[in-house]
Amino acid sequence: MSNFRLEITKGEEIRYISHLDYASLMERAVRRAKLPVAYSEGFNPHMKIAFASALAVGVTSDAEYMDIELTKPVCQPEFFDKLRAVLPLGVRLLQAREFTGKVKALMAAVELADYEIQVPLTGDFSQAQTGIIAYNKVDEAIYTRNMLKKVKTIEVKQYMDEKILAAEGRDGNLCLQMQIKITPAGSIKPGEILEVLRDQFSVPIAVEAATINRRALHGAGKPLIDLV
């Protein structure tokens, strides 16, 4: 048995596909690469691949992670070249590291996501900055998530690591950087933070036109690829 941890991207070309779509895209790529991937037993066999944290429709990423289990060893250069050759537009294979033995699953290992957001300003940059400073200072902020049938209120500051950084971005955009904690109890989406900023801190932004990019996923203070 042999395993690989991959660092891959979700690019502009596939910004609007869901996490599930992304997973099946990778599954098909692994099949095209003709790698000796392992499947679960039973009537409905599943390819043994696993991801760290779901990425929402509309969000790109510079660093997604996927673990894959093989039935027989493949040397790293061969694995890397075979998979890279068959990836569709929008997915780049950055790293592939072989590992054996027990390693914390990606889902359990991931603790922090780093985002960069470009969002059109609908008012002054200084007003946006004031709002963000205020948000960074408060101890609590409540987001109300409308689910299909019920409404859930979430205290969002518990998921914030460090302050949100704001800068004037390209073409009249506001550029934000934020670190969001991913915990066993849950997390918050960057788009939801934008709504809180707009609705409760008077940050003048067009949330619906925001483009969000995940820059990194960390566990134990390191990129997830460095945990194997």
């Binding site: 070309e13 596939i14 910004r15 609007y16 596909i17 869901s18 779509d21 895209l25 599954e27 098909r28 790529a29 692994v30 099949r31 095209r32 003709k34 499947y39 009537f43 409905n44 066999p45 429709v57 509309g58 068959v86 569709p88 537009l89 929008g90 067009a206 619906e208 036109a209 925001a210 483009t211």
Partner: protein, 617 residues
């Protein structure tokens, strides 16, 4: 190039329907091409992407160095609203090029209730909807697919139709276009259409004159020498040699048929008298097992799909099916691929096969007895007995299946209440059979009943369709006769079948009704949640046309039928003989192995049955 802003995409459902970039999508530089095609299916992405015909034509056209083909589907309601408010024109998925700048826009016509979507897509593309209003800078609008066997209701909207199988004729049309364009388009648009009309299988409706006598059509006659009096369909003679969709576009999002499609053969000559596909796709032409294995391997490696459907009109009739399935399983033994058959024949061979195919995954079983009594099954030439069904169901139950779906139709010619009650009785026998075999209850039998729509170029093309009230009465009657809770009864909205009945046997005058319905907001009529029956009725009323003149008027055998100038190669005399045999409950053999019934298709099209079983006998 059309640019889609994040704010727009983030405001619509399933934005990945509109952003392309899929694996195997072909991107070519339009400036270097001599001809460009937009291949359209007038329904949403998930439906359009599932169509095999367009996948094949996409490959045929893009295999050429001088031609580019791109895809376009109907935007869903929310996207349409955005396009209208932002002034966005309909674009192609590969290069985001406005559809109106293509040389050809080809629509696949899968069923009548999607005609308003064609008008909607043309409007969104800013292309004039009537062919007569189009100018030299507009694309040629081409129709193809199963509905072209009566193209008349939409004739005014199309510049030309491709009748029959498109692989060869679409290349001939493209060649002809390039020749004309390279010669600086002599004579303009009309001259090209007259040139195209000379290609076998091309029907140019504007080159014909239609004469009427009240509700009847008395003739459809060519007005120029290039137009043929009778346009025969095109047929591929060698299925092994023809191009197939070996490298289909792989969607990112889940689509209706999200699997590989391996087409085993074309045509079905079982001769069910209600079935338009059975009449219009003749004769049976199989691919060889060797070729199919080759195709399967190429398709699997080019896509990475783990599911493959063995498609055809009646896949279980493929002469070497058992052997092929074994070979495919052997070929893919490391690749964990699951194989499926879209339909099963009612016999134990099919059950064994289905069992074998489900080594990997398990699903339900579907049979189509079509009618509830032997008498009526003989009328429609469905060569299946109650015993066949019970034997097949017994085999299925012994293999462990617990759910069976049974398809029927109501409103078939000569049908009486006894035949309707027969459906309930048959379903009950299947339920009882399960208890007998298993010694306990627990089976689920789904009875799905559609309303029969008589179609052009079938033995029932003269037949009077049941009225709306009669359909609804029969549905109620059947409901009242189903008493077992193991049986679930599903039926269709009879109002859809009522309209389909009028349109499918309509003439050119219906174009204004379809246009009026679209003007008044009809679109996605095949989607039950979008279907606006009142808008349609009102449209008929506004145009002073009675839909029942088309669907419920008794047509005499001597009456000229509006679709007679277009032919699948099967002679009218054959349909007439079959109609009469139907009334006598006489059966007709399958010519694939049995006696030739002289339908005319082979001599008319210089084609022949290609059947592996026959060859090896």
């Amino acid at each position: 190039m059309i640019k889609l802003e994040p704010a727009l995409l983030q405001a619509v459902s399933k934005p990945a329907r509109y952003t392309g970039n899929e694996l195997n999508a072909v991107n070519k530089d339009h400036k270097l091409m001599k001809c460009s095609w937009a291949l359209a299916l007038p329904d949403v992405y998930e439906v359009g992407m599932s169509n095999l015909g367009l996948k094949i034509l996409y490959q045929v056209l893009n295999d050429r160095d001088d031609t580019v083909a791109e895809r376009v589907y109907a935007p869903w309601i929310d996207m349409e609203e955005k396009m209208r408010s932002e002034g966005l024109e309909l674009w192609s998925l590969e290069s985001f090029t406005p559809v109106k700048t293509f040389d050809f826009v080809g629509f696949s016509l899968q069923y009548e209730m999607i005609y308003t979507n064609i008008l909607n897509m043309l409007a969104l593309a800013k292309i004039p909807q009537q062919s007569a209003a189009r100018g030299d800078s507009d694309p040629f609008i081409v129709g193809g697919g199963p509905c072209v066997y009566n193209p008349e209701p939409v004739a005014e909207f199309f510049d030309l139709f491709i009748i029959g199988e498109g692989e060869e004729v679409i290349e001939e049309l493209t060649d002809s276009f390039i020749e004309w364009k390279m010669a600086q388009c002599p004579g303009g648009r009309t001259a090209f259409l007259r040139r195209a009309a000379q290609i076998e299988g091309i029907y140019v409706p504007s080159l014909y004159e239609v004469t009427y006598d009240g509700a009847k059509v008395t003739g459809v006659t060519p007005i120029v020498p290039e137009a043929k009096t009778l346009v025969y369909k095109r047929v591929i003679k060698d299925m092994d040699a023809v191009t197939f969709a070996e490298k289909p576009v792989v969607p990112y999002i889940d689509i209706v048929h999200d699997r590989l499609m391996l087409e085993l053969f074309r045509g079905c000559t079982r001769g069910c008298r209600f079935c338009q596909a059975g009449m219009t796709y003749r004769p049976v032409r199989e691919r060889s097992p060797q070729r199919l294995r080759e195709l399967a391997k190429t398709m699997e490696s080019s896509t990475g799909y783990d599911e493959m459907s063995l498609t055809s009109l009646s896949s279980a009739d493929y002469s070497c099916l058992g052997m092929l399935v074994d070979d495919l399983f052997a070929d893919f033994k490391d690749a964990k691929i699951s194989l499926s058959l879209p339909s099963l024949r009612i016999d134990s061979f099919s059950i064994d096969l289905a069992h074998k195919m489900q080594q990997v995954r398990k699903s339900g079983l579907t049979f189509a007895p079509e009618a509830g009594t032997q008498r009526l099954r003989d009328v429609i030439n469905k060569g299946v007995t109650e015993e066949d069904l019970l034997t097949a169901a017994a085999a299925a139950f012994r293999q462990g299946w617990k759910a069976v779906k049974l398809y029927f139709m109501m409103g078939l010619p000569t049908e009486t209440d006894e035949d309707i009650v027969g459906i309930a009785r048959l379903a009950q026998r299947v339920v009882d059979l399960y208890s007998q075999i298993k010694g306990r209850r627990g089976v689920k039998v789904t009875v799905s009943v559609s309303c029969f729509v008589p179609k052009a170029h079938t033995p029932f093309q003269w037949f009077v369709q049941d009225s709306l009230a009669e359909f609804e009465r029969k549905q109620q009657l059947l409901k009242d006769n189903i008493r077992d809770r193991s049986i679930q009864f599903k039926y269709h909205d009879a109002r859809t079948s009522y309209l389909e009945g009028a349109i499918s046997r309509g003439d050119r005058r219906l174009a204004k009704v379809i246009y009026q319905a679209w003007l008044d907001g009809a679109k996605f009529d095949g989607w039950s949640d979008q279907f606006k029956y009142e808008v349609w009725l009102e449209a008929f009323h506004k145009c002073s046309i009675n839909p029942e003149d088309y669907s419920q008027r008794e047509r005499s055998f001597t009456e000229h039928l509006p679709w007679e100038h277009v032919s699948p190669g099967v002679n009218k005399e054959f349909f007439l003989r079959e109609y009469k045999k139907a009334c006598q409950q006489e059966l007709t053999e399958d010519c694939r192995r049995g006696r030739c019934s002289a339908c005319g298709v082979c001599p008319n099209l210089e084609a022949a049955v290609v059947d592996g079983g026959k060859k090896y006998e």
